[in-house]
């Protein structure tokens, strides 16, 4: 319980850092922290394979892509435009609090009593996940691979000098 509390406190602080830091590089590093702690929370949920996938895919691949684009566009230095304080800021925070309040009031009363894990401890192992992924979910798996192929083709098209 204390481990979970410490991890979730780090995750929430890192998430706040993503929004509140004005430098994009600091936001990206906070996001890396957040994804990393989230991977350990996944380990606590006994979904080991997805925790490792979280580290490899998010902190390994996606965040490297983010940092690469930040460096390439030369956004790491002092901010070229100020984050103005305006009406939209107030609106955004009000919307966030309202969203949190609505979800909390509607959801949490019903989920207080689910304190016993129902799934078996081995349900996140690579064997279990791979067996279901390649039998019962093989069609969505193939469609996801086609989607990634389209993503590759699209990003190459966008990166070409002349469209």
């Amino acid at each position: 319980m204390t481990v979970f509390m410490v991890l979730s406190a780090i995750a929430i602080l890192a998430a706040l850092g993503v929004v509140l830091f004005s430098s994009p590089v600091r936001s990206a590093l906070c996001l890396v922290f957040n994804f990393f702690t989230l991977a350990f929370i996944y380990f606590g949920l006994k979904t080991e394979l997805l925790g490792i996938t979280q580290i490899v895919v998010y902190t390994g691949a996606i965040m490297v892509l983010f940092l690469f684009v930040i460096m390439l566009l030369n956004l790491g230095g002092p901010q070229t435009w100020k984050e103005r304080f305006e009406f939209r800021t107030v609106l955004g925070f009000g919307f966030g609090f309202a969203l949190a309040a609505v979800i909390a009031s509607q959801v949490f009363a019903n989920f207080q009593y689910f304190d016993k894990p129902q799934a078996p401890d081995s349900f996140g192992s690579p064997q279990a996940l791979g067996r279901v992924l390649f039998t019962h979910y093989v069609w969505p798996f193939e469609i996801a691979s086609i989607l990634l192929l389209i993503g590759i083709v699209g990003s190459i098209m966008l990166a070409k000098r002349k469209l």
């Binding site: 481990v3 995750a11 929430i12 998430a15 993503v18 929004v19 994009p24 936001s27 996001l31 994804f35 989230l38 996944y42 949920l45 979904t47 997805l50 979280q54 895919v57 998010y58 691949a61 996606i62 892509l65 983010f66 684009v69 930040i70 566009l73 956004l75 070229t80 435009w81 984050e83 103005r84 939209r88 955004g92 925070f93 966030g96 969203l99 959801v107 949490f108 989920f111 207080q112 009593y113 689910f114 304190d115 129902q118 799934a119 349900f123 996140g124 279990a128 279901v132 019962h136 979910y137 969505p140 996801a144 989607l147 990634l148 389209i150 993503g151 699209g154 990003s155 966008l158 469209l163």
Partner: protein, 113 residues
């Protein structure tokens, strides 16, 4: 970590999702907006996994392996879609930067009639 119940994980997911939503509205840097979208996707992933671990399955499905696995499968596909989305989205940001030499989100009004 056996002392946790489902509501703890849902609270963490809720807080992260709300922070991400606020960030999408408040920030003006499109790359930070992308990061906030990733934050929201990860909050949803956490919620999927918490439900997959804690909610009971019906007795008719309890002996079939895939009855426990659907939450994890959804997380796998969300990760795949997020990877494709980031690749294409950052490509679009690069193309806009090459075209206009700035990426202020308020100046991107090409589609406005």
């Amino acid at each position: 970590m056996t002392g946790n119940n489902l509501a703890d994980y849902l609270t963490l997911g809720l807080i992260m999702f709300s922070i991400g939503a606020v960030g999408v509205i408040v920030r003006r840097n499109p790359i930070v907006i992308f990061m906030c979208i990733e934050l929201m996707l990860n909050a949803v992933n956490l919620t999927f996994l918490a439900f997959a671990r804690f909610t009971p399955t019906s007795a008719a499905l309890a002996d079939r392996a895939e009855s426990f696995m659907s939450g994890q499968m959804m997380v796998v596909f969300v990760m795949a879609v997020a990877a494709a989305e980031v690749a294409v989205g950052l490509g679009i940001i690069m193309a806009i930067y090459r075209l206009r030499n700035e990426i202020d989100i308020d100046e991107m009004n090409l589609l406005k009639g």
